[in-house]
């Protein structure tokens, strides 16, 4: 079932079961991303904890996935995602970005974003399926594990004769975890070609620039030497993101594991949060939050 809908109406009312199919313009996607960024700021400000920097930087990628690329049925969330595309957030600390997108896409009420990180919430500091939040299939937060799980689901899809795709977002600092390279070796060796990995390549991590903390060197060469087809894009340019994802979708099921190095800026969209790693895990105070929100257009209505 493919329904052409008005995005704004959809996101506001939040009640239709839809499979969006490339119906949004780039500007509409940008509008969603702007609202998601507002949500992120308000969420981490609200509970005075959480990770704004990476969340803001990765917003465009995941917005494009959920609002343009993925074939999903938000109103009827199933754990196995049979027949649907599946997304995993390996770098679970940027959960506010994912929660906002899931809510805006119709997985659960937008109002629930206000419960982020509060006692009893389904919106735990790091994503978890155990509280029953639609859209989440596995816990993440301990870095390095998401790509392995994504490989497993991708192989389950193959066993099931299910042609839909699996996407997995990882951090660049996260690439320092050895388990990443176990799955990086596994996917091409075992012909996992229904998987698209994306690295949030913001060149920053908690203690500073990755170049200082642990130089990642040439990530493209690394993944190529591990047998992957590697793409690059500006992860904060919606057109580039969509174009690159389109290419990977076309190249899926062709015997190659694919990965996108999405060059992003930590804190993207909020001037004083950009160009530094300081906002990796620090929430803004009242004044900073107001300043940040003043830079982000409210497009779908705040929760």
């Amino acid at each position: 079932m493919i329904i052409q809908i008005n995005l704004y109406k959809f996101a506001k009312e939040n009640e239709l079961t839809v499979l969006l199919d490339n119906i949004m313009t780039i500007n509409e996607l940008k509008d969603v991303a702007s609202q998601v960024r507002r949500d992120i700021i308000r969420m981490v400000h609200g509970c005075q904890s959480g990770h704004p920097g990476g969340s803001l930087g990765a917003t465009d990628i995941v917005t494009a996935l959920y609002f343009d690329q993925m074939h999903i049925d938000p109103k009827h969330f199933t754990m196995d995602g049979a027949g649907e595309d599946i997304f995993f957030l390996s770098n679970g600390h940027i959960s506010p970005m994912l929660y906002s997108i899931l809510a805006r896409r119709g997985y659960f009420p937008v109002s629930e974003l206000a419960t982020f990180r509060r006692l009893g919430t389904r919106l735990q500091g790091h994503p978890t399926p155990v509280e029953g939040l639609p859209g989440i299939r596995v816990a993440s937060g301990s870095l390095g594990q998401g790509l392995s799980v994504a490989c497993g689901v991708a192989q389950a899809k193959k066993l099931n004769g299910d042609n839909s795709l699996v996407f997995c977002l990882m951090g660049d600092g996260e690439q320092e975890e050895g388990q990443i390279w176990e799955s990086a070796m596994y996917a091409p060796a075992k012909n996992v070609d229904n998987l698209v990995a994306v690295i949030d390549y913001n060149k920053k991590q908690i203690d500073g620039p990755t170049d200082d903390v642990m130089n990642l060197g040439d990530l493209k060469a690394k993944y190529e030497s591990f047998g992957w087809k590697v793409y690059k894009c500006n992860g904060n340019d919606m057109q580039q993101v969509v174009d690159t994802l389109n290419i990977t979708r076309q190249n899926a099921h062709k015997g190659q594991s694919q990965i996108i190095l999405a060059h992003t800026e930590m804190g993207f969209g909020v001037d004083f949060m950009m160009g530094t790693h300081k906002w990796h895990g620090t929430p803004p105070n009242d004044e900073q939050a107001a300043n940040a929100l003043s830079q982000l257009k409210e497009t779908l209505g705040d929760y």
Binding site: M79, V130, V149, V153, A156, N160, Y186
Partner: protein, 318 residues
């Protein structure tokens, strides 16, 4: 229960045969290994169901993540590697993507304990039961012989939720009935008695059985219960037995700290404090040797159980 040795078989073969059987019964059962197909006796499964068998290479962390992914996709994955690499090596991963995420993953852990033998301490895990029982949602099984390991494997496949299944390398007495179904969480009465409760698991159940006639000769009427399910513990069976006997001996191929003995000590302290003696490894690493030599060296043998019983019974009297 009739206590006859039918033959001598390794418990890992019980796993391998159980996996094959589970795979026949349910097409959702899949197997994974980290370069140890033969050691885990998963070869028959791999041959019967090649498309349902995943060779992951020497990458245990990746293996458990893939297993969680397969479980999300509706499968019932059994991961297979040595017990140390099934637990210590990947505890955070098991914790996050299996236990906390509550995925239907079965962790098959072979070569547990000192009876691994000559490979020595690096491979002889004596901490895995302690690790696994700390994880919410995790079921921890330590069957005692070939037949029971086979049945436990089939039961694990039928159980919905994470399972850690621990078994071993050497050929040991196979004595439980071949047709006995494995009931997770239900302690198995092996011999009723009145003077002492012996709770044993894994390879040490047979050692405890061998102690029974010796104890009888000494005039000690021991009750022996096989705690094949460490978690959830059959607290009712434990308390019922202790209420009758008034003292306890635990026997296991594991560290004292964290093992079955500690589980029983906790139940006693919280409910009915009674003297307890532990037959377990006491805060030392293993070493190379034959399984029998090592059981003797680490005081995990039949005479050690007899001594422990004598001590427990004597403590009851004061």
């Amino acid at each position: 229960m009739k206590l006859e040795v039918q033959n001598y078989k390794d418990t890992r073969s019980g796993f391998g045969d159980g996996l094959l059987e589970a795979g026949k019964r349910n097409p959702k059962v899949v197997g994974l290994t980290a370069d140890l197909t033969g050691s885990l006796k998963m070869g028959d499964f791999a041959k019967a169901f090649p498309e349902r068998f995943f060779q992951v290479g020497i990458a245990e962390a990746n293996m458990v993540g893939i297993a969680a992914g397969l479980a999300i996709g509706g499968y019932i994955p059994f991961t297979g590697t040595f017990a140390n690499f099934s637990s210590a090596r990947i505890y955070d991963q098991i914790r996050m993507v299996v236990a906390y995420s509550n995925k239907n993953v079965k962790i098959a852990a072979s070569h547990a304990g000192v009876t691994l033998g000559e490979d020595g301490a690096t491979h002889q895990t004596l901490e895995d039961v302690g690790m696994m029982k700390m994880l919410p949602n995790m079921t921890v099984l330590v069957p005692c012989d070939y037949n029971q390991t086979k049945a436990a494997t089939i039961a694990a496949a039928e159980h919905n939720g994470p399972v850690y299944l621990r078994f071993g390398r050497p050929k040991v007495a196979n004595f439980t009935p071949a047709d006995e179904p494995f009931v997770i969480g239900k302690a198995q009465m092996i011999q009723e008695g009145t003077d002492v409760s012996i709770f044993a698991c894994g390879h040490l159940v047979w050692k405890a059985i061998e102690a029974l006639p010796i104890l009888k000769e000494m005039g000690i009427n021991a009750e022996l219960i096989n705690i094949h399910t460490i978690k959830p513990l059959d607290v009712e069976a434990v308390l019922k037995s202790v209420a009758k006997t008034g003292c306890v001996v635990t026997a296991e191929e594991h560290m004292r700290n964290g093992g079955l003995g500690d589980s029983i000590a906790q139940v006693l302290a919280l409910n009915n404090p009674k003297p307890l003696e532990m037959v377990a490894v006491n805060d030392v690493f293993g070493q190379s040797g034959t399984p029998d030599e090592l059981l003797k060296h680490y005081h995990l043998d039949t005479p050690d159980i007899v001594e422990a019983v004598k001590k427990a019974v004597s403590r009851k009297r004061i």
